[in-house]
Amino acid sequence: MPALTRKEVEEIALLARLHLEPEELDRMEHELGAILEHFAAIGSVDTSDVPAMTHAVPMDLRLRSDVVAPSLSPAVALAGTPRRDGDLIVVPSSIAPPDRTGSGSGS
């Protein structure tokens, strides 16, 4: 397992939706590289005929009956929400706000 580059660490942080400060990225580059190097032994094990484990203890995943059952009310379920509007959770926009000056391209 190769050591990680700074660019890889930044890519992984973005994938993980984790904002890391520059000193955290420095530390992560060093520490993750050391961890992966330490665990490199696993790569040399011949597992060509070995099935990947799905459950440690034999079990069949089952389906529940599709029946209505008591559950939390919206007010209770949403009580810990950082910001809401009635029963809706409010979050910042996921795309840039629309240009309201009229200079943008219309359709």
């Binding site: 939706r17 032994a41 696993i42 484990m53 459950h55």
Partner: protein
């Protein structure tokens, strides 16, 4: 330190407490007040509790006393004060998982195991400290406070269920529930001189447990005796349709399994578990094995050849599952949310500010292992190695009934002693395989080091055979356990 309350009930067993309450020798309210007073007096030094629910405990105790006054049938844990690791969600009582990202969150429901305890009459006295999201082996990764080892306050209590183990050892609860993903019940139990049981995967419902690694996590008891562990386990175990991996299997009365007999029991000693450890631990485990032989058990030497791969397999599987499970902590529905101009920034800042260093490290490691193009080389490979480890155990259990190993290679270490993440990960080297293979395991105190720190003996068993582990564990406890010795650092006798 003696109890500051009117009773000296702090070290009563679980069964004895419930019996005395049922017999009317003492009220649940008296037990609860004594325990609350003791926590108030002792926990500043120990640091086990993140939250004490005095009002909730008093209300639950009053209900037990009301039921008794009305001659209603009492549950098997009526009046027993129990502390919960803070990864178990509790209705109306803050649950942090030891993380700042959940600070102030009040769950709207109880975990399945909490429902079970309440139904049995237990008094939930509070939530105890742990490594953040149960990731760690010393409780040093808690975002809130250090918890000290009651036997030596300069040492850690182990982790991640360090608050549970310390509180039980110091008499700040009668029992505690912890979770064990790679040793997080057994290792702190060993460090603090208490009993810890990691049940078979699927034996205890994970519903309402803040998830770390879903294919490895199990809830189990930490107690001052094997009999107490048996009683708590038979209370919390059993099928729960809300957990898709819950096993629909009958739960034995584990307390009936404690016959005191090990005649004819075949005890496996795997050479890979005796290669590197402190001399005092090797001597204690040898003494334990000899004690079992003197009582009629037979020792069987065997090999679990893939043991050395457990650590790398675990540290690929567990972070991979953690990176997926912890994706839910994004600032949208609960917990910490800093100001941000767009959604991506909100996710990144919420998680960047809310998670501590070890959690970030594992999320990064897991994200790396699951990345497109890397999955086969890391996650799939680790799951294949899990199969090899499981096969080792399957073969071993043709020749023995239980395996005896040390729980840890060293006794409790000092704060800050583990300089790198890899150094810390080695603390779990004897406990990880059990989780990877889904087996039940128990740690039982089996002596003290010359410095006076507890040593744990670990027994591993066949799936669903907790009864044999408890039976053999009780024999170890009687033969080489700590007896009436209490912690000498914090919470011990005056």
């Amino acid at each position: 330190m003696s109890s500051p309350g009117a009773l000296s009930s702090e070290f009563w067993s679980v069964a004895d407490t419930a019996r005395r309450v049922a017999a009317g020798e003492v009220t649940a309210t008296q037990i609860t007040e004594a325990m609350l007073a003791r926590i108030e007096a002792v926990d500043d030094a120990l640091g086990a509790y993140l939250a004490v629910d005095a009002a909730g405990a008093r209300a639950a105790a009053a209900e037990v006393d009301r039921q008794r006054a009305a001659n209603a049938a009492l549950g098997p844990l009526a009046g027993v004060p129990i502390a919960l690791k803070d990864v178990l969600v509790t209705r109306g009582l803050a649950t942090t998982a030891g993380s700042k990202i959940l600070e102030g969150w009040i769950p709207p429901y109880d975990a399945h195991v909490v429902e079970k305890l309440r139904a049995a009459g237990a008094i939930i006295v509070g939530k105890v400290n742990c490594d953040e999201f149960a990731m760690g082996s010393s409780t040093e990764n808690s975002a809130y406070q250090p918890t000290r080892n009651p036997w030596d306050p300069s040492c850690v209590p182990g982790g991640s269920s360090g608050g549970s183990a310390a509180a039980v050892a110091a008499g700040l609860c009668a029992a505690s529930l912890g979770t064990d993903t790679g040793g997080s019940i057994r290792q702190p139990a060993a460090f603090c001189g208490v009993v810890g049981v990691k049940p078979t995967y699927g034996r205890v419902s994970r519903w309402g447990v803040v998830a770390f690694a879903s294919s490895l996590d199990q809830v189990g008891p930490l107690t001052r005796s094997v009999a107490d562990a048996a009683l708590i386990l038979e209370t919390i175990a059993g099928f729960d349709p809300r957990d898709s991996t819950s096993l629909d299997q009958p739960v034995p009365r584990f307390t009936d399994a404690l016959t005191g007999e090990v005649r004819g029991l075949r005890i496996g000693l795997a050479q890979e578990y005796f290669e590197a450890m402190d001399d005092a631990i090797r001597a204690a485990i040898t003494r334990t094995a000899n004690a079992l032989v003197e009582r009629g058990a037979a020792l069987v030497d065997l090999s679990l050849p893939h043991t050395k791969l457990a650590l790398p397999a675990y540290y690929l599987v567990a972070p991979a599952e953690a990176s997926s499970n912890l994706a839910r902590f994004d600032g949208v529905r609960y917990g910490h949310r800093p100001p941000a101009t767009d959604l991506l920034e909100m996710y990144g800042r919420t998680r960047g500010q809310g998670f501590g260093p070890e959690v970030k490290r594992r999320i990064m490691l897991g994200t790396y292992a699951l990345r497109s193009g890397y999955y086969d080389a890391f996650y799939k490979k680790a799951q294949q190695v899990r199969t090899l480890i499981k096969r080792d155990f399957d073969r071993a259990f043709h020749h023995c009934d239980v395996l005896l190993t040390p729980t840890t290679p060293t006794p409790a270490f000092r704060f800050g002693a583990k300089a790198t993440p890899v150094d810390m990960y080695q603390a779990d080297v004897f406990t990880l395989s059990c989780n990877l293979a889904g087996l039940p395991g128990i740690s039982v105190p089996c002596g003290l080091t010359p410095e006076g720190l507890p040593i744990g003996a670990q027994l591993l068993g066949r799936p669903l055979d907790e009864a044999t582990l408890l039976r053999a564990g009780a024999v170890i406890e009687a033969a080489v356990g700590l007896g009436d010795r209490r912690p000498t650092g914090i919470g011990g006798p005056a």
